[in-house]
């Protein structure tokens, strides 16, 4: 067999360019596979010169899937820049909105994007391996999944006035208090939501039991794990210290997120637009780490809510308390976090301060910089603003979660390609695994714009002279 180059390219427009290239050896084995992703530098430039209080409304425009994460990280950066920490009720309300965001985003990913892979099988026809195929296979489950996401979206709408791009958090607090009617409306859906998430957990556990061979040879990567924690190394999504543990589970660092530049550096490869963050002290690639659900579950020891904590302990027990390194267990970790977020909604709504009208700190003590860090559904999100005396933003640095996971996604693609594509004809079924390796991380590749036109996955097989041998189009 002659040397080949395979290119997998979802054709999108602005953000959203991600391409997989698999370089083949002459004997038909994979030499190396790469994932190339664009990043958001255009948006950083766009923000320069804006007033800091405008930023929580501008930056969510980066994304239509997790705008709340940008909204809240931006407000936190504004709190810091203006020296105006929010009153406790405002922090609780922001966290409540964030929980709604996590439930809707994780719920959508598991049931509507990854779920079809798991429930219908990696080798199922792509024409059916989607939410409609799932609907036909299990209509009741799919309706429950849609309602799960709707509940999360409804929390966002109640607090922010709209489901996408809410207007709620401002530097120093929030602009709307919660009423008792709104509180009751959210709580009314709680039991159904918990039941649906438990069904999801039973699906992934059952699937994992039946597919342990796939899980154990599918992108099992050694890396660090990175995420916010509260005291006691308790998993945290809104505010805390960043904890980094090694592949063996030993704590490498625990630091104030505002000092992220002391601990994180970014490596550049000439084949990718996106940089590769790593832990400075260990260098690249030894210091690479993973974020998102797997990163957070591995970086924490416990969860504050009972049902999710029980699931986390079972999860950790699978590897004797050490980090779970199997990429496919991102899905398990994602459901554990969904359970936590839903339980935490009730904890927050039961807090006596949640309906307080003390929601804004109007004191100001401006600083030259402001940093806001939050755990977005896909991982740690950092907003860093350098300020002018006028209150305008002079410079912006955004590190998004898809960026932190850049190495992991690329290595997962490489691992899966080497495992499943080996000296045989490239069939679509094999490429499903490559696609699933990327999807496990739930990257946000194409959220800013959505126009008519397919986003097909085009697979080109080329020989060593770059002649096109075969094209597979998916989509």
């Amino acid at each position: 067999m002659i040397a080949q180059k395979i290119t997998i390219e979802p054709v999108t427009r602005i953000e959203g360019h991600a391409k997989v290239t698999i370089r083949m050896n002459d004997d038909g084995t994979v030499n190396h596979a790469y994932l190339h992703v664009n990043e958001f530098r255009g948006f950083e430039k766009f923000c320069e010169g804006r007033m800091v209080f405008e930023m929580p409304l501008i930056t969510p425009r980066i994304c239509g899937i997790c705008p709340v994460s940008h909204h809240l990280a931006s407000a936190k950066a504004g709190d810091d820049a203006l020296g105006a920490p929010p009153p406790r009720p405002a922090a609780l309300l922001r966290e409540l909105m964030h929980m709604g965001q996590v439930v809707q985003s994780h719920g959508m990913h598991f049931f509507e994007l990854a779920g079809p892979d798991l429930i219908l099988g990696f080798d199922a026809d792509p024409a059916m391996r989607n939410v409609v195929g799932l609907l036909q296979a299990d209509p009741q489950l799919t309706l429950k999944a849609i309602n799960l996401r709707k509940w999360g979206q409804e929390i966002i709408r109640i607090l922010g006035g709209r489901r996408i791009h809410p207007s709620f958090a401002v530097p120093g607090g929030v602009n709307k208090a919660l009423t008792s009617q709104e509180r009751d409306l959210i709580l009314a859906g709680y039991d159904d939501v918990i039941a649906t998430i438990k069904i999801g957990l039973s699906i992934i556990k059952d699937w994992a039991e039946k597919n342990s061979e796939d899980i154990n040879k599918f992108a099992v990567l050694k890396s660090g794990y990175f995420g916010l924690v509260k005291p006691g190394n308790t998993l945290e999504l809104y505010d805390g210290m960043i904890r980094l543990v090694g592949s063996d589970g030993v704590e490498l660092e625990k630091f104030d997120p505002k000092k992220y530049l002391d601990y994180i550096a970014e490596h550049v490869e000439d084949w990718s637009y996106l940089k590769f963050p790593y832990y400075k002290k260990m260098g690249f690639p030894q210091g690479v780490y993973r974020v998102g659900p797997l990163g957070r579950c591995n970086a924490s020891d416990r969860i504050a809510t009972p049902l999710a904590n029980e699931e986390l302990q079972k999860f950790k027990a699978m590897n004797g308390g050490k980090p779970i390194e199997n990429t496919l267990h991102y899905h398990t970790a994602r459901l554990i976090e969904t359970l936590y977020a839903a339980e935490n909604v009730k904890v927050l709504l039961d807090d006596p301060d949640i309906m307080s009208k003390q929601i804004l700190n109007t004191c100001r003590d401006p600083k030259p910089q402001g940093i806001g860090v939050i755990e977005a559904p896909r991982g740690t999100l950092i907003h860093h603003y350098w300020m002018k005396d006028t209150g305008q933003v002079e410079r912006v640095n955004l590190i998004v979660s898809t960026g932190h996971n850049n190495w992991a996604m690329s290595e997962s693609v490489d691992s899966v390609a080497k495992t499943y594509i080996n000296g045989q004809e490239i069939r679509e079924g094999l490429l499903n695994r490559v696609e699933a390796a990327i999807r496990a991380h739930d990257p946000c590749l194409s959220c800013s714009t959505h126009a008519v036109g397919q986003m097909p996955m085009i697979v080109e097989v080329r020989d060593s002279s770059d002649n096109l041998v075969k094209t597979i189009t998916r989509g």
Binding site: F46, R129, G133, L143, H450, A451, V452, Q454
Partner: protein, 158 residues
């Protein structure tokens, strides 16, 4: 006949938000208040003009309450005409790695989840520039009238 005009896109990314401009002009043509474009779907409305950032699966529940729907969006290179319109049916368009949901996919979810199949038209307008601004490019702005006329004709003829 319960009718929904459903535009979507990113208003802050120039021509990606062309649907917003089409909806504003359509409301003027229909003698409706052009200053009000709803951003929440209303299942009880007899006639509604809505703009949102993107389509999502839970829209299916409300879509199912309408008899006919016109989706309005932007498009790029893969579509030949500058202003494209077509009757669409429930077909799931596979999007391998992204969160992208198309109108036929949304109709497919609606049909499978709620057993409803509203008549649907898709009108899309070519986008030329996708910068960080709400002002359309000159080329796309010139196409808004044509899109409005196509929608107006569909409203009168169906």
């Amino acid at each position: 006949m319960k009718t929904l005009i459903f535009g979507y896109g990113n208003q802050d990314r120039q021509d990606d938000g062309v649907a917003w401009h089409v909806l504003l002009q359509l409301k003027q043509v229909l003698g409706l208040d052009p200053d009000v474009i709803d951003d929440e779907l209303d299942p009880y409305a007899d006639f509604q003009v809505v703009f949102q950032l993107q389509l999502v699966p839970e829209h299916a529940e409300v879509i199912a309450c309408f008899d006919r729907i016109c989706f309005v969006d932007a498009h790029t290179g893969s579509v030949l005409e500058d202003v494209h319109s077509e009757i669409i049916h429930p077909v799931f368009d596979y999007s391998p790695l992204t969160h992208h949901l198309t109108p036929p996919s949304l109709l497919a979810i609606t049909k499978n989840a709620y057993n409803k199949e509203p008549a649907a038209l898709l009108v899309s307008v070519r986008g030329y520039a996708f910068g960080f601004t709400r002002e359309l490019s000159i080329h796309t702005a010139q196409l808004v009238d044509v899109a409005v006329e196509k929608i107006h004709h569909w409203l009168k003829s169906t």
